[in-house]
């Protein structure tokens, strides 16, 4: 018997759920205290732990989805951070338009990871002295093509350690991602460095109460729906951004059978989050998460936000109902200033929220000068809501289907994504999902446990890690940037795809162990594989391999109880 607690710290409420294996034993809710995030979290934990029998003495695993990192980034609360960059030639760093303080240092690594110009140590020392003097509290170091050759970034770290220890720890770009994108790597590393202290403080507070509640391993939910050991998150806090949308998708996977090519709508008060599944797997962002206008390399599940929710402001000009993208307050039925989609639902008698009379009165006023009956007005609003959601979904599919692909076989396959069902969650979902589904001609499901769904998602998630292996047999070099691993390939002619796979899997196992991830060897998979023959002057001089390997993201299936079943069409 194993017990597990899942917590989702949301904007308004913190929800908790207690699982015993695959059964939900209890759920609880507390108001989120943004000033003292850990207090609300602890309160929620305490309220579900009451349901653990006293006879249980095994430590209880805790899975936490928190807005800590997201809020720190969105509200710009991170520490003042200096970015030491080694841009080399190319697009000038001044043109990147990044809102960070950048300190360029001379040095040049090319696309194959060859050093074309050494790092200028004299300049570096001057730059670090300036950074120290200017009162920066955190430092990130990012070189162009650093995932192909870690040397320059490591040299910076070494110099900081030796001569400027007060600037430690530094965030090195190559450790956060093996993918190519210098501007995104700068953004990712700077944000990571800037929130590291906030994260460390939160972690230490959670650690304090760990023993009091007999908690075992603690994982934080990442943007990609996997978990990260809480202690490790101190060095990689940026991975825990956007865990809210990830929790929704994990909940969907935990609760819904045969997801297929579903489109998932999480309808909230102000916004609707739209995510997609393809053959039962959630779609991921191609390059990485985007947050508050920052483009990062953080692996993330695909999600688009639409300014349309139960509390969105509604306008009517005599011809057209427009909804959102803003919220001006709660629904009129709850004393708000302006008609909302929720008021329309209340007026139609489809939901029992607040004062129905006030909702009807507000709709009457809205339609009065056009001589429209309040009930007709309410129906117009519901239709407009469904239309807007359906259009947004359609546009997302159009843009995904025009995503570039790079091989003849992919173009010829012309694989097109297309939704085959609608899954909804969130407060207003029960009413609006059937309407949107009708609009799109799709079957639908509304998730059970709608309030605690994200906590269930956090609880159902499993820890994951991923690494990138780059082997260039012409140079005789093998690099795994996330692990700081660099090696010579001893017999390049004998190195082949099999060897590359073996090496990538071995390194992922090492890394997963370092990161405190529990896994079975069978759960390691190669997700991307690229092999190119390198021909120079009509002779093959070697091959280059790029492999991405990960601990397979998995979801604990949660049993649906009959009395908790959601509303399914058909």
């Amino acid at each position: 018997m194993s017990y597990l607690v899942g917590i989702d710290v949301g904007g308004t409420n913190t929800n908790a759920v207690l699982l015993k294996n695959d059964v939900v034993l209890a759920t609880a809710k507390a108001a989120t205290d943004h000033k003292h995030l850990h207090l609300g979290t602890m309160q929620a934990i305490a309220s579900v732990l009451k349901f653990v029998p006293d006879s249980v003495d095994k430590p209880i695993e805790l899975h936490l989805s928190t807005t800590l990192a997201t809020n720190a980034v969105v509200e710009g609360k991170g520490a003042p951070t200096a970015a030491v960059i080694i841009p080399g030639p190319g697009l000038r760093w001044e043109e990147l338009g990044l809102a960070f303080k950048l300190f360029p240092v001379k040095g040049y690594i090319d696309h194959r990871g060859r050093e074309q110009a050494p790092l200028d140590h004299n300049q570096l020392e001057e730059v670090l002295a300036e950074i120290k003097q200017s009162g920066f509290e955190a430092v990130a170091v990012i070189g162009k093509f650093s995932p192909r050759n870690l040397q320059h970034e490591l040299e910076v770290e070494e110099l900081v350690t030796r001569k400027f220890p007060e600037l430690l720890p530094v965030t090195l770009g190559h450790r956060l991602s093996g993918r190519l994108n210098f501007p995104r790597r700068i953004t990712t590393a700077v944000l990571n460095a800037s929130i590291a202290k906030i994260q460390a403080k939160f972690v230490s507070m959670v650690q304090e109460v760990k023993d009091r509640y007999n908690l075992g391993r603690i994982y934080l939910l990442k943007a990609d729906g996997g978990g990260i050991d809480m202690k490790v998150s101190i060095t990689r806090p940026i991975e825990t951004i956007l865990s809210g949308p990830a929790a929704s998708l994990m909940a969907t996977m935990a609760l819904v059978e045969e997801i297929g090519d579903a489109v998932v709508l999480d309808i909230g008060g102000t916004t609707t989050e739209i995510s997609l599944f393809y053959r039962g797997e959630p779609l991921t962002e191609r390059d990485g998460a985007e947050i508050a206008g920052f483009a990062t390399l953080v692996p993330a599940l695909f999600s688009r936000s639409l300014g349309l929710g139960g509390d969105s402001a509604v306008n009517y000009d005599g011809h057209k109902v427009s909804i959102g993208p803003w919220r001006e307050g709660p629904p009129v039925a709850l004393g708000g200033p302006r008609v909302t989609p929720t008021d329309a639902v209340v007026a139609l008698g489809a939901a029992n929220i607040g004062d129905q009379e006030r909702a009807i009165q507000a709709l009457k006023e809205m339609g009065a000068c056009y001589e429209i009956d309040p009930i007709i007005m309410a129906k117009k609003i519901v239709t407009a809501f469904s239309l807007k959601a359906a259009e947004a979904i359609n546009e997302i599919y159009i843009s995904l289907n025009s995503r570039p692909v790079y091989t003849v076989s992919q173009v010829m396959a012309g694989e097109n994504l297309k939704p085959d069902r609608l899954i909804g969650m969130g407060g207003p979902a029960a009413y609006f999902i059937p309407k949107i589904a009708e609009q799109m001609g799709l079957p639908f499901t509304v998730l059970p446990y709608h309030e605690a769904a994200n906590a269930i998602g956090a609880a159902a998630s499993r820890p994951t890690v991923a690494t990138t292996l780059r082997a260039d047999t012409a140079l005789g070099k093998l690099v795994v940037p996330e692990l700081d691993y660099v090696a010579n390939i001893p017999r390049p002619l004998l190195f082949n795809l099999e060897a590359a796979r073996r090496e990538a899997i071995a390194k992922t196992i090492t890394y997963a162990e370092q990161m405190g991830t529990l896994f079975e060897p069978s759960e390691i998979e190669v997700t991307e594989e690229e092999v190119f023959n390198m021909v120079r002057g009509f002779h093959m001089v070697g091959k280059n391999y790029t492999l991405t390997t990960q601990v397979k993201p998995q979801v604990r299936r949660i049993k649906k109880h009959r009395d908790e079943m959601g509303e399914d069409s058909e």
């Binding site: 190319g90 000038r92 790079y406 003849v408 002057g537």
Partner: protein
Amino acid sequence: MSSKTTVGLVFFPAFDWAISPDHPEREERLLYTRDQILEEGLFDLPEIEEYRPQIASLQDIERAHICVPSAQEVITESHLIAAGGTMTAGELVLSGKTKRAFALLRPPGHHAMRVVHGSRGFCTINIEAVLIEYLRKLHGGKFRCAIVDTDAHHADGTQDIYYNDPDILHISIHQDGRTLYPGTGAMDELGGPGAYGTLINLPLPPGSGDAELLYATEQLVLPLLQDFKPDLIINAAGQDNHFTDPLTNMNITAQGYARMTELLSPDVVVLEGGYSIEGALPYVNVGIILALAGLDYTGVIEPELPQKLIDNQGRLREEVVSNVGYLQEVWSRRKEKDLDLVFGDKEYVQRKRRIYYDTDNISEHQSEEIKRCPSCSGCRRVYSIAERHYGRLVKIGAVLIPWHACRNCRHEAEEAYQQLTTEEGLDHIYLHDPEGKQGDEG
């Protein structure tokens, strides 16, 4: 769609296609270019948007070519995508979705001529011509276009297709044909009797660099474009004139290429050759993209840039100055030229050529008859015999009706085609009619 988008990038590296495993035109060719573009984060810039290439139809191919025996038989899927991607680039610009577009794709096409028996100079389908013929069809023929081909090799295929077409200005700037494949592209190749002067060839002496390319752009190309006033400017951007290219002897740098792009401000750029896949392509392509987007490209410097090239900047070869002067003169007097002196005074101009397909090892013997018509550019009759190394001879006959053909030429062409149907010994016959149904719905 961001209103700031200025460059539509149709990037298609065809990572699963090669002519043969160790051929220069192989999977690896755009790998390092992709890595450089990704690492520079270009796809995230608001000025740049990436698009998926469309797949051209056989009909799109046949609008530009006479494929023997048929389009289906001579091409691979990769050719349909490269041609389709070039069409996508043209559509982006004409629809106003993006200000400019760059078809950064492979395989290339500028050695592919009107009649296609196979692949030559790594090219099977002329992707620029497929785009142009598509746009002309779309605009009912009311569409004039200029192609500026800056590949180190003479664009003999594009020149062949537009040899007698007054609506298309084709300028090729290349390493002197006496020192490089395919050998043609001398200054006296100026087009057929119906389009005299709309083919311009500027051979550059081996060793020419940025100074010569930029001088030619400013002094020759830009004034000609201003004069011709095309609806669309295409730059066939071969990058084998780079100082690191293994197949040529030129000295262009990424900076020179980017500056040329900035000066030319083409509507559509199409990648042609370029086989220094590590030393040139990643830098030249990033330079072109930045220049098209109006961004600062001055930081794009190749690691192998020799001091000699930096020191030589600004030094210009006299030969190029005088050749540019000669061609300026030819251009300004092209309409006064007595064409009888060039083509003789007969009603039909005869041409006989031997065309070698190096990639597929085919020898083609072509003879052609062009009608000199005062009302249109004139109908043409072509006989072509192809000889494969171990194969039998294939003989075809074709009649070509030009855009805006006059009634007489159309009538004469139709009769000539009727005559071909009765002729003995021809394996295939073709009627190429851009305005008719044949070339289009067949």
